[in-house]
Amino acid sequence: MKKNEHIDGIIGIGLFILSIITYFIIIPNQIDDISFGAGSLSPSFFPKVATGIIGVLSIFMIVGNYAFKSQTPISKFGPKSFSIILFLIAYAVGIEIIGYLAATGIFLLALMLYLSKKSWLKYIFIIAVFLVVNYLFFEKTLKLVLPRGYLFQ
């Protein structure tokens, strides 16, 4: 049996469980079911409809995959993808802690060196130019205060 044969079925099961939890637990807890006047719809109507559609379609996905062997081709995940996502998360956390300019300098250099270890001096030059242009454009021209970070506030 091929490794990816039932991915759609598994995703379908996940979506079905998610839709059940959303419909019966999250929506009733997060939306007060009140309505005003004749003919007015409750605020939870549209979220419930959307969740119901997801639930029904996920059943189609499960049945299609297990009964009729339908499976859309899935692209492979490489270790590099996970590393890049980790870089993205670390960058966002970094901005919140040490501010945009410092975090950007560190993130850009780290990611460029991770991707290719050649010409780090060139990277530093490009990053310096980028940071100066960013600072001048956003802070000086648009008068936008870039995130300073918890440490420097």
Binding site: I7, L15, T51, I53, I54, I84, I95, F107, L115, F137
Partner: protein, 504 residues
């Protein structure tokens, strides 16, 4: 209309406006020329620069980036045989073949002339048709509008991706996510989990930057970065580097076919410029006097798809201006930009913001002239360079732009988190073949559809079935049913032995 247009032209003939449009077009051409980066990415990268601008300048710059991105894709298609955008894939057939014969200069110029002509014709269609159609659509009531939204969602979900079920699930998720925030009628919180930043809903711009720009960057960075571009020698013969008058005359037919198809395809929600360029190519080839020469390097083979993909731009703006329905991802992003600027696309926009709309129309013509000038300069001096921009430095910088762009709109760090979350979600959706376009378009359309239905029900004391007594709504419901059948039929026939359930 003519006085409005003239007023629009005078309002934009100022150096800062023209420079902003030129920057949008130039940025679009450069990003479009980089293999793997699309016109959508071009708009997403330009967006942060437009938040604090006047609506006309802001929208013009974004549309300039869109057009530039569509044209830019042809540069790498012709020079290195790799389309910068999906829409330029058909250009490879004759464009790259011409380049291999040393005629890259001729092919690039043919692509430019055809793009500009296709664009100009589609703009004419937009300017002539949109105000008239808006007058008709102004009679649409809440019930009709709800039916229109249902039709748009069906066709968009149906056209998206390899699996229609996944497209529909993505659209349903878009509907669900759009309900986060305050209820539009009675103002109570929905699905905010106590997070105050979610009271106004999920901001569209940070979400779409995450959903479209970040996954594209992650996917590009996954690929090996060694980028050996084979340099094709350009012929020294001046005739091989220009399009002669006779050649251009021969291309007119292909350009007209491509433009007509592009305008039509653009105006139908959910199809897009990639289908348009292929359809333009095959139609123009089939109607050519010498179809056997196509694919062997003739200028008509470059002109038809290029006119076809650029004409989509004006065509796609017609349903947005007249009905408030975005038919493609770039137009959905533009619609988001309209909403940020306080402009609500739809039939009322001509009455509520006529001067701004005509200013935008006028700027579209200016951006087309600028596309010609910038495209010409790029062909002459920098085309090959843009196809070789090193990914190792470019993509990290784009990530940084995405974050700062998300932050810039509301100066709220929460928006950066939204970009990150939707970036990861968008990447997973790509990997598991859930098209992101239905998600975005459903998310944009949900508030309009929900408001329309709830207004209609309040007006009719809860009688939903009254919607079927309205002729315009009935027409849209009929179109919805027809399109569902067409989608099922298309999928079952194209999948051969596969069971219908998997493609529903």
């Amino acid at each position: 209309m003519v006085p409005g247009l003239l007023e629009g032209i005078t309002s934009i003939l100022h150096l800062p406006v023209i420079l902003a449009i030129a920057a949008g077009v130039g940025g679009g051409v450069i990003l479009g020329a980089i293999p793997g980066l699309t016109a959508t990415m071009a708009i997403a990268v330009v967006i942060p620069f437009t938040f604090y601008m006047d609506p006309v300048i802001s929208i013009s710059m974004l549309i300039g980036a869109y057009k530039g991105g569509l044209y830019g894709g042809s540069i790498s298609a012709i020079l290195i045989g790799t389309p910068g955008t999906d829409a330029a894939a058909a250009t490879i057939l004759d464009g790259y073949t011409m380049a291999k014969k040393g005629k890259s200069g001729k092919a690039l110029k043919a692509a430019l002339y055809a793009s500009v002509c296709g664009d100009m014709l589609s703009l004419l269609a937009l300017v002539l048709l949109a105000p008239q159609l808006a007058k008709l659509t102004i009679k649409i009531g809440p019930g009709d509008f709800f039916a229109l939204i249902i039709f748009s969602l069906t066709i968009i979900a149906g056209m998206a991706g390899e699996s229609v079920i996944k497209g529909l699930i993505a659209a349903a998720f878009g509907l669900l996510v759009a309900t986060v925030g305050l209820d539009p009628m009675i103002g109570i919180r929905r699905l905010t989990f106590g997070i105050i930043d979610l009271d106004n809903g999920i901001s569209i711009m940070p979400m779409l930057i995450g959903l479209f720009a970040l996954p594209e960057v992650i996917e590009q960075l996954e690929q090996p970065l060694t980028h050996d571009v084979t340099t094709l020698k350009r012929s020294d013969d001046p005739d091989d580097n220009r399009v002669t008058f006779l050649e251009f005359k021969k291309c007119i037919r292909s350009i007209l076919i491509g433009s007509g198809i592009g305008i039509l395809i653009g105006a139908i929600p959910g199809i897009g410029s990639s289908v348009s360029s292929w359809l333009s190519y095959t139609t123009a080839r089939d109607r050519s006097k010498y179809p056997e020469w196509w694919g062997k390097g003739i200028v008509e083979g470059v002109a038809a798809p290029e006119a076809g993909n650029n004409a989509v731009c004006g065509g796609a703006l017609i349903p947005m201006f007249t009905l408030g329905v975005p038919g493609s991802v770039p137009v959905a992003i533009l619609m988001g930009a309209f909403l940020i600027q306080g402009l609500i696309p739809g039939p009322m926009i001509f009455q509520e913001a006529g001067a701004t709309v005509y200013g935008i129309f006028a700027s579209l013509f200016i951006s087309n002239i600028l596309l010609f000038i910038i495209g010409y300069l790029v062909i002459k001096y920098a085309a090959l360079y843009f196809t070789r921009v090193p990914k190792v430095t470019l993509f990290p910088i784009i990530i940084s732009f995405c974050y700062v762009g998300s932050f810039a709109l509301n100066q709220n760090f929460f928006d950066v988190k939204v970009t990150l979350v939707f970036g990861i979600l968008g990447y997973l959706m790509r990997k598991y073949k859930f098209a992101a376009a239905p998600f975005l378009i459903a998310m944009i359309l949900e508030p309009f559809g929900e408001r329309a239905l709830r207004q209609f029900l309040m007006m009719n004391r809860g009688d939903f079935w009254a919607v079927f007594t309205m002729p315009i709504a009935d027409a849209f419901f009929a179109l919805t049913i027809i399109s569902i059948f067409a989608i099922i039929r298309k999928n079952t026939s194209s999948n051969g032995s596969k069971h219908p359930i998997e493609t529903m």
